[in-house]
Symmetry: C2
Subunit: 187 residues, 2 copies
DNA sequence: GTTCTTATTGAACGATCGTACAATAGGAGG
DNA sequence: CCTCCTATTGTACGATCGTTCAATAAGAAC
């Protein structure tokens, strides 16, 4: 049902996020959503939680370098960060200002995400005796990733996912962070 | 009426973009929208055209350095790039995949925008004998601007508009582009 | 004043929206 | 078998959606 909601958001944004279409997508009857979720907004919050769980999942990388590389790689994993999912994110971002519960969750999840990045950067700086502003780099890296993803999905003919990843690595390198790009196991 | 539509998009995204609310916002009666615009989607396209006209307006800067600085400065002008306008942009971006007419316009406007940036970068490279990939820098600068704007509007307590501008200038500098930041006339 | 075009109004239409609710199905525990 | 709890269904409701359309207001042209 959460998956069905994501699919609807991906198809037509918040306009397509209706009880009717979600139930049809999930193959269940109309009244079921309001049985499991008291309101439609609550379903939206659950959906956002589900989506961010994926982002904040345990990163099994050993070194902080591998951890950051893992972030970059998974940020442009075409299974998760495709046009459909971008629309879902755009729709949810557009509702953050309206839905207080969603806003609180979003602020928390974004903080966690940035903290994970910042922590890895600080560990790298400690290991290699670097003098960097880890929080600032994390913030700018997130901005770059979001912006590249936006560009890629809105006009994908412009460049490739590989180019987007390269841009991120280039950004890190120009900020003093060098890391061996890890190759994801191709399954 | 176009302004009223932007205001509605800013208040509640595409969900609030209804004939009723637009007319109420504009202070006119219900039937007027369909008199000037055959359909609601056509109004949305007009709104997007109006919004991008502002971005692509004639840049009166003399030097290419000033031109790029003008882009950065106006990208974080709080009159235009506030939370309300972000929501309008998010809503429109979310509809680009659905509305063919909107998609065509968006592709064209984005191409113009990137061309203006690329052209200025090429002129700088010519003047200063630099060997740069202007198109790539333009693309990454746009991504950084979009991402920073997104971050700023979604959790504005994180940093300031001045910091966002500084991030852009820092990015350009680390890519070999140095430019004197111009101070906008404060009117 | 008359005529024509345009701007604007407000009511009406069927469709769809979110939610509530009574009714049914099914499985677990006794 | 009976009883409870939960899962699921389908209908119903008032509200709002986009669009259509006849009616009116307002000027411009003559």
């Amino acid at each position: 049902m959460i998956e069905a909601g994501i699919a609807c958001l991906g198809k037509g944004g918040m306009t397509a996020f209706t009880i009717d279409r979600i139930c049809r997508q999930a193959g269940v009857s109309r009244g079921l959503v309001n049985h499991h979720f008291t309101t439609k907004e609550e379903l939206l919050v659950s959906i956002y939680g589900h989506m961010t769980d994926y982002l904040l999942r345990e990163n099994t990388a050993q070194s902080p370098q591998q951890q950051i590389a893992g972030f970059v790689e998974s940020s442009f994993d075409e299974d998760s960060f495709n046009k459909s999912n971008l629309r879902a994110w755009l729709a949810i971002w557009g509702q953050v200002a309206t839905n207080a519960e969603l806003k609180a969750l979003h602020q928390g999840r974004y903080f966690q995400y940035r903290q994970q990045l910042t922590g890895a950067l600080i560990r790298i700086a400690d290991l290699e005796n670097l003098d960097i502003d880890a929080a600032s780099i994390a913030r700018r890296l997130i901005a770059l990733i979001d912006g590249l993803w936006l560009e890629y999905c809105l006009h994908s003919n412009g460049f490739s996912l590989a180019a987007a990843k390269a841009d991120c690595y280039h950004f890190l390198q120009s900020n003093g962070i060098s890391l061996e790009p890890v190759h994801q196991p191709e399954d």
